[in-house]
Symmetry: D2
């Protein structure tokens, strides 16, 4: 921690802060500058108590942490890429995977037809929502348990592992019984009890970044999961909320590049939720590959105009085929191997 004191702080004022620093078991080192005195506080900021509270002293101008708070997820902790195993698929470490499927599972035919279609175009995992977090209580909330059955059928029909969202700690057991990967959605990116329950299931977790989540917060959410003994975490960028409304969210590919540098975990991108409109999904998917993502999450529906949720952003199977055709040479340029190969 670096504490900057206001100009003109008395010796007594300096001492008061230094004493407070010691109480928190940091060692204070005084640096007397031209105008301001700075106190560098020596100690591990993760195991020690935070001392940002010292900003309440009137003579303190600012308190700045110098250490990142995440540890287990960091490259300093593990330099090489984590490679996760999901039903035999290797994720991370130079592979590239496309998870595809409808926003919501709506019926057996819609689910299985989509699963077969996306598999035929090269998707290596299947996604579909059974429990849907919706902004309005008047919107379709998902088929719930019945939806999980449809997902099971899709896996039986195609062999694709299943990625599906869980909304509540109580549902983790039920959803984990069906899913190969538990998805934690953007609205739950800091829902600690849910992160803990999902971690405890032992399943791989696909962790979306919060709608307004800092990269640091996203990594700390992953750290919560890891501290529950489950390091099988896939990070997923899905667009952040900004002033710009040309697309529903602003896809933040710099966050992907930063995350790839900071952490050893695989990082995926969801261009569908970022764009909120089908016509922007393919260019954003291409950009995600080129920035260095390890995979994509893409929404596909046999008839988007009639979809029960987020129809405007879902691709038809044919459009998905186009997406796969466009990203394939880019994946190759990036030196990555399609997971299905």
């Amino acid at each position: 921690m670096i504490i900057v004191l206001r100009p003109g702080t008395s010796e007594q004022g300096i001492q008061q802060v230094a004493d407070a620093v010691k109480k928190f078991n940091y060692e204070p080192r005084l640096i007397r500058g031209v105008e301001r005195t700075v106190i560098a506080c020596i100690g591990d900021e993760r195991s020690h108590h935070t001392i940002e509270s010292l900003s309440v002293f009137p003579q303190v101008e600012s308190v700045t942490p110098i250490q990142k708070k995440y540890k287990v997820v960091s490259r300093e902790y593990q330099a090489h890429d984590s490679v996760l195993d999901v039903a035999g698929r290797k994720i991370g470490g130079g592979t590239f995977h496309v998870v595809a499927g409808p926003c919501s599972v709506e019926s057996a035919s819609q689910t299985i037809e989509t699963a077969k279609a996306v598999k035929s175009y090269g998707a290596t995992l299947f996604r579909g929502g059974a429990f849907k977090p919706r902004t309005s209580p008047y919107d379709f909330q998902g088929l719930g348990r019945e939806g999980l059955d449809l997902l099971r059928q899709a896996r039986a029909a195609t062999g694709l592992p299943i990625v599906t969202e869980v909304l509540s700690p109580q549902d983790v057991e039920m959803v984990a019984a069906c899913a190969d990967v538990l998805q934690i959605g953007a609205r739950n990116a800091q829902n600690v009890p849910l992160l803990a329950a999902a971690a405890d299931s032992g399943k791989t977790i696909l962790l979306k970044r919060g709608v307004s989540g800092l990269v640091d917060e996203w990594l700390l959410a992953a750290e919560y999961i890891c501290l529950h003994g489950n390091t099988k975490v896939i990070l997923c960028e899905r667009g952040i909320r900004t002033f710009e409304h040309a697309c529903r969210n602003t896809l933040d590919l710099s966050a992907v590049a930063v995350a790839k540098q900071e952490t050893h975990l695989p990082v995926f991108v969801d261009p569908s939720h970022a764009a909120g409109r089908a016509d922007m999904v393919i260019p954003l998917a291409r950009a995600a590959v080129a920035v260095g993502a390890d995979g994509l999450l893409v929404e596909v529906h046999p008839d988007p105009a009639t979809a029960l949720s987020d129809g405007g952003q879902q691709l038809t199977p044919k459009q998905f085929g186009q997406l796969m055709a466009e990203i394939r040479p880019l994946v190759e340029v990036m030196g990555k191997k399609f997971g299905s190969d």
Copy 2:
């Protein structure tokens, strides 16, 4: 819904969209403009399926809802202010309440000392966190069940009703057994299973706006609670996340004014979380009163520099007394009555 078609759309293209509109049980009305044709879709947007998915037709330029999605919380549904009863305190409808207390309850002495102090200065409810949602797993997570006991002691010592946060559906019963008001924090503003479980407890709910929550989303979260048969909801603005970092969040008082106009529910303001720094709490509290808020949520700690969470934003009891002295004449100008009077 208003569907705008692209210039030059053929008659067939127009008909295709109109037919799709009919399938969703809206009645399409065509308006042929100078450049574009517009289809107005007649039907109740709340009870009908959304047709924003029609944006996938290439001839559709935009689909715009014209109806607000919330209903029960709206002034159209109930024109007069809701007045909630919390342990005999009337909230809303011309009263003004100050909820005060520490960010976290840390010990019996800290809790009870603070409760007595804030009561002596005029607070009418006591707040304190037992379950703390923290960004980092390495930070203090609250005393949990033991913290609830301390809150009970604070109520016994002062008679102040208790406001405390609940993080998980499983904890609702336990927390509700202690609390007079269940707080749903900003991180859980769209955690539907938690909203549902809290609503079902029958307790008054203090619902914070999400860190990047639209006013519409905030009101729809309240609508979720109301649809569970519990209309005892206090809305609470606590600052939104923007590019500006002079304060931790940007207190959005226009959202308070909009919410007061759109809904009959009481609206409180939390200047402590908005500011993230003690020296800005009092001016923001004054502004909140003047914009028309029905109450405040203020963090107070006997020794903020040693607080186990968010020390930098907590007021000392003496500073809290200053806050109360400054807002009292403003509450009077606004024609409101202090809840304790």
Copy 3:
């Protein structure tokens, strides 16, 4: 400046950075922490070259300035409030002024009628745009030179000093010949050549915060003006651009409180541009008074529905009368004196 080095940096790597620091005439002081070495750089950050460029060394994790860059506008430079004199009106230092008038001056009758009306309700300065910065080239761009004549007539008719915007360095002389206060709009908040030209006119400058301007950037823009020998600057908060669209902008009253603490300059608030809708102007005006602003800028038009620009946010004279009636007792509670009294 504080330079944080990555864990495991070699002695040679540390020395390389220390040497670079010396080249920039700062004195490096090494603090060896538990994991990281920190170099505190002693020297005046305003007169020295910035060394944020040292972040390009791979062993550097971060470079953080510790000094604020503004000087002349700061409370450290001048502790007491600046009091500006505009045609005999004292601005700042415990007075409160309301600047009112139409968004654009459109005709002699509209201008003079409005000026008389706002004066009758207590406005102490008159505002009106002759040169309008518009997002679209197809929108009304102001009457220009002819508009300045109308403003002169308004002053002649009412005695109210004139506040009007200038858009280009070439126009400064012409506009300054008419205006008592030159307004620099939000789009020009970092237009340095315009700031310089306006400063050189010797007129009082009303400096709006940029649409996405940090408080620091706003104060540095004021510093540019002051360094041109003109310290007659009124700061004006007018809402920032965020994700929330219930109002056009998000009025950031915490920025007003921060600016009042950081600088001795008077700080005004423009609730009309912040809200973008007339029905929110009065509550935001009240909040601005209570947070501690020194004045307001309010748009008033005799018939807003027919206004040539920004009609939706302009008050009728009668609504303006209501605004004045509502803020008067709040100004009194704040211990301020209406400028006209």
Copy 4:
């Protein structure tokens, strides 16, 4: 325009709004819905006066434009890509150009050395700032006229056309005498007098998006230039200001994809200003190519650690060579031709 009236509006209230619509020369068409009446207003929204001011009627709930305001820059106006000619280089329409050079020109050797280096790696235009818009008045403001001379020398030495920024209408003539492309910076994205003066020079304009500029505003700024008879505009995305601070700005590649769809103008990307840190420039450059950009603007300095401005984001010539090597195969996959080929 679509005007939505509040539920329960009387016939008289409806008529009042319809009459107002007619006064603005739109033709009102009434659509009576289940709860609300909607008035569709027929007329060209670009040539007619805006009627958003009608929102001041209490019975009006909202007024929504349905037409985009830009025209000349739109694909509806010109379906095929514009191809601009800059000193013989074809820009747009399937070519790809890299503009490279230092943030500021600082000396003859620094300028010419960099120009030669970037040319050797494949850059096809040279950039360098002579007039620098800086947030702080205490920072280096550029060499001005002397800097222009250095740019001339760089062109003489390498044959590369020159891209350089102009800050003030008065400087346009002087800068245009040296530059092949005039750059309008993000801070001046809505500086209409500067846009006009730059357009009038007849030079190609590289128009950066504002720090918080909507895509619509960016295109309208280009429309201002086009309406001055100069359609040689290159759009340049350079990151927007959001809550995320891992990079200095958030590069918004969805805006590039939207702009490519909406307009026929070439769209470039500046990953250097977006990132604000050298280590993120290459991945963002790759993503920009893959999303469909027509060119890049990249900052390169022989010794970034000693740069007089923005050192932290500048690449060394060697790093720039790495960037070129990484994007080349991606440009090929995108089916574009390097401008120099």
